[in-house]
């Protein structure tokens, strides 16, 4: 086992699948004590059992990150179990497909914003006091390339992810002087249930991969590796940054 995160306590939301799941596995292999948080109890239990094959220092919290009382309890459970909190990864997110702006149902806007942006706010709000007690911390927020360029299939998702980038920047401005680094990752298309689901067909996802400059879409592990970097001492001089991890997709010229 490598030891980049030896004895660090990490809380990962959205940890039952996709990027969050890969991150928890990566952290566990690097010696971290990890709390897996997700609202999908069944998937969380399955992931918990897999991570127990790597480390006994793993716990689970069933939580809806849009609910402040549940988030506060999640952080309390983490601190009670592992005696502190050093790392928070805000990976919980949803992508609800929507029509053009004038036809978007307000309920859909609220559903997306409550998880994707308010959830990041609430989790950070709960975690930061614990990190301040320890004198240091690292937060990584998962945005998306949809927060940088327009994603017309879900305006609320695109706007929420743009908000995560700016929330990261502003949180870093407030807390970097107090020992907490806050950074963001903007993944491109990554092979996760969310991407498979939002593509609405296996053929559409294959098409994205075939037209990608690297000839493939990203893996959850590609993102987890970058998250590991941002929470480890190797990135000790980085705060307030957003790193795009998309295989160069944003650099590609549009197809004529």
């Amino acid at each position: 086992m490598a030891n980049k995160l030896r004895n660090k306590v990490a809380l990962v939301t959205g940890g039952a699948s996709g990027i969050g799941q890969a991150t928890i596995a990566r952290f566990a292999k690097e010696g971290a004590k990890v709390m897996l948080a997700d609202r999908n109890r069944h998937a969380a239990e399955e992931t918990l059992n897999k991570i127990r094959e790597i480390t006994p220092y793993v716990g689970m919290s069933v939580v809806d990150v849009s609910k402040e009382d549940e988030v506060q309890q999640m952080v309390r459970d983490t601190v009670d179990r592992f005696n502190g909190l050093d790392i928070l990864v805000n990976a919980a997110a949803i992508l609800v497909l929507c029509p053009q702006l004038a036809e978007i149902d307000e309920r859909d806007w609220d559903l997306v914003m409550n998880t994707n942006l308010k959830g990041v706010f609430l989790c950070s709000k709960a975690a930061i006091p614990e990190m301040l007690k320890g004198g240091a911390g690292a937060i990584v927020n998962i945005s998306s390339v949809a927060g940088i360029s327009a994603y017309a299939r879900s305006l609320p998702y695109s706007v929420s992810k743009a908000g995560v980038i700016h929330l990261t920047l502003t949180t870093a401005s407030q807390y970097t002087p107090r020992g907490i680094r806050v950074n963001c990752i903007a993944p491109g298309t990554v092979d996760t249930p969310q991407a498979r689901g939002s593509s609405q067909s296996s053929e559409a996802l294959r098409d994205i991969a075939n037209n990608h400059p690297m000839g493939r879409i990203g893996s959850p592990e590609d993102i987890a590796d970058t998250i590991l970097y941002l929470v480890s001492d190797e990135s000790s001089y980085i705060s307030g940054s957003t790193i795009v991890v998309d295989g160069g997709a944003l650099t590609s010229p549009p197809r004529i």
Partner: protein, 78 residues
């Protein structure tokens, strides 16, 4: 179309919406103003069916899956 049938059909085509219906059903209940009976169906037999759906449901399967879920909702509402 009744609310539950609409929710079921959206859940087939939109995985993100499906996740909310499965794992945060109270948000759907409150925002769609579902009745107690409708809420119980959403959290019970409809969720059981949503849990079995593949990711994604392929477009050529939509019609068959929609018909199946519609029948389940109608039976539960009777």
């Amino acid at each position: 179309m009744d609310k539950l049938t609409e929710i079921a059909q959206r859940s087939i085509e939109d995985y993100g919406f499906r996740q909310i219906a499965q794992w945060s059903p109270d948000d759907i209940v409150s925002q769609w103003e579902l009745s107690c009976q409708e809420a119980a169906i959403l959290k019970g037999p409809l969720k059981d069916e949503l849990d079995l759906l593949p990711v994604p449901v392929e477009p050529d399967e939509y019609l068959a899956v929609q018909e199946r879920l519609t029948k389940i909702v109608e039976k539960a509402l009777d």
